[in-house]
């Protein structure tokens, strides 16, 4: 039987702007993904636990409040510490170009900015999810 792709759409830290996260969540749903949405104001520990318990293929972090350079690497460290090593981590939102290299070095596979095309995000996710 087919492996249904499961994705966690997460908002980290003091960042209440979740319109983008909801649009992306909806797009993934419409593309046939099972989307776990955990709401705003999540700590990296909570997101890592959710990713582990839900056994997701992908974690997509939406960040619009500027703390991505600390919170996203923290999240990736926690995932690794829990042995969650086969999950694809994506970031989206308002992330300056200068920060992208640092995020990728920390383990983020790809960063999608405000202009990103939803179809392109989904195609990328499908192509790179490790257990597809």
């Amino acid at each position: 039987m087919e492996h249904k792709l499961r994705i966690l759409v997460a908002k980290l830290g003091l960042d209440a702007h979740d319109r983008g996260a909801k649009v992306v969540a909806r797009a993934y749903r419409d593309a046939g993904f099972e989307v776990i949405y955990t709401g705003i104001y999540q700590r990296p520990e909570q997101v890592a636990q959710a990713a582990l318990q839900e056994d997701v293929d992908v974690v997509a972090v939406s960040s619009l409040a500027g703390a991505h350079l600390t919170l996203i690497p923290d999240l990736i460290d926690l995932l690794r510490a829990e042995g969650v090593d086969d999950v694809l981590v994506l970031a989206g939102g308002v992330i300056p170009d200068d920060d992208i290299a640092g995020l990728k070095a920390a383990g983020v596979a790809e960063v999608f900015g405000p202009g990103a095309d939803l179809d392109e995000i989904i195609a990328y996710t499908r192509a790179h999810a490790k257990r597809a």
Binding site: M1, H3, R29, E34, Q49, E54
Partner: protein, 373 residues
């Protein structure tokens, strides 16, 4: 992680292995068979509690509170929450974790979101196996939250030892309360959002409905013989107990049916018997009001099941249902595979479509040709 690693780590209490095991069970992966074989002997200990009710009744928030309460009582809790799959895209938004933030950081709690994947009974096909895995993993309590349910999503009753039906005030006049369906399956009722106007009236309507089918005060009732029997309650038996049986008329037919169902599930009102009259509790999940007594009632119901031998009966029932399901599924698949290979499936499909035969005759032919041996 391969099967051997997952099994070894599962039996050592590793939650990541549990998570992967659930994924395999849910997907009907090749590993699922061996997984169930290896974990099944450890099942049969957890108290499985179903939480059902209409969308927006506050089920997720209640589950969060209930889980916290069980943790205070020293019990570990597994949670399964089912949300609907889109019938158009096969995708789903699983948002139950949003309302469960209180307990989800607790290492004594594990929570998994499931999509209904096209199944319409309020849970998904794999929900039973997932509950089994949480049970085998060692959780004391497994809470199962159904999709927002209307009147016919009653499958949770076959999976849970204790079924809790959550209602909210102002959902309709009292005729809603006597309809068949989810109101018949409750072992415990919660009127959530009880700080809203009309909650007393809703409680009254549910109580009145329950009075028609059940004897005695809410909770465990002992009829005759035992210390707790009380004559006041016994006189209520005359007043309400034999209504359905005495009145053979059409209007009361549902009462008779409801009484039979009640007798099956909750015990009869014969002197000497122990029966269960579903209690109704008021809760305000967002403030945590009424949660302690709600959980008390669930535990009382568990006590009732154990004391009356129903706990063992439920195991028998589950075993029979599982065996039937698996045999029926495999038998159907075998016959259909054979018929397909022989070309009969295609031939008869065309014949039905062109109206040169009918579906029943065609099915008879398939069965007579391919069911033997």
């Amino acid at each position: 992680m391969d099967l051997t690693t997952v099994l070894e780590r599962f039996h050592n209490g590793d939650r990541r292995a549990l998570a992967r095991a659930i994924t395999w069970a849910e997907n009907g992966a090749p590993e699922a068979g061996e997984l169930i074989r290896s974990t099944f002997p450890k099942t049969g200990r957890a108290h499985a509690i179903g939480i059902t009710g209409p969308p927006g009744a506050g089920k997720s928030t209640l589950v969060d509170r209930i889980a916290s309460r069980f943790r205070e009582l020293g019990k570990t809790v597994g949670i399964v929450a089912v949300d609907p799959t889109s019938p158009f895209t096969g995708g789903a938004i699983l948002g139950d974790r949003i309302r469960m933030q209180r307990t989800l950081s607790d290492p004594g709690v594990y929570m998994r979101s499931l999509a209904s994947r096209g199944h319409l009974g309020g849970i998904s096909i794999a929900t039973g196996d997932v509950v089994g895995l949480l049970d085998a993993f060692g959780f004391d309590v497994v809470l199962v939250e159904t999709v927002g349910a209307g009147q016919s999503e009653v499958e949770i009753m076959d999976l849970a030892h204790t079924t809790c039906v959550v209602m909210i005030p102002g959902m309709g006049d009292d005729i809603q309360a006597i309809k068949a369906g989810i109101l018949e399956i409750g072992d415990v009722f919660a009127i959530n959002k009880a700080d809203r106007e009309g909650s007393d009236r809703t409680v009254m309507e549910i109580e009145a409905m329950l009075d028609l089918g059940h004897m005695g005060e809410a909770g465990v009732n002992r009829w005759g013989g035992t210390a707790q029997a009380n004559s006041g309650a016994l006189s209520r038996l005359d007043r309400t107990g034999h209504h359905g049986a005495a009145d053979a008329g059409g209007a009361s037919a549902w009462i008779a049916t409801s009484s039979r169902h009640a007798a099956d599930r909750h015990g009869t009102a014969n002197p000497g018997d122990i029966s269960w009259r579903p209690p109704v509790v008021k809760t305000v999940a967002k403030d945590g009001q009424g949660i302690d007594s709600f959980v008390d009632r669930m535990e009382q119901h568990l006590g009732f099941l154990r004391e009356t031998g129903r706990w063992e009966q439920l195991k028998q029932r589950d075993a029979a249902a599982k065996l039937r399901d698996i045999v029926a599924g495999r038998a159907a698949r075998t016959v259909l595979d054979r018929a397909a290979q022989a070309g009969d499936l295609d031939r008869l499909t065309r014949a039905i479509a062109t109206r040169s035969t009918d579906p029943y005759s065609a099915a008879e032919e398939v069965l007579s040709l391919h069911m033997g041996g």
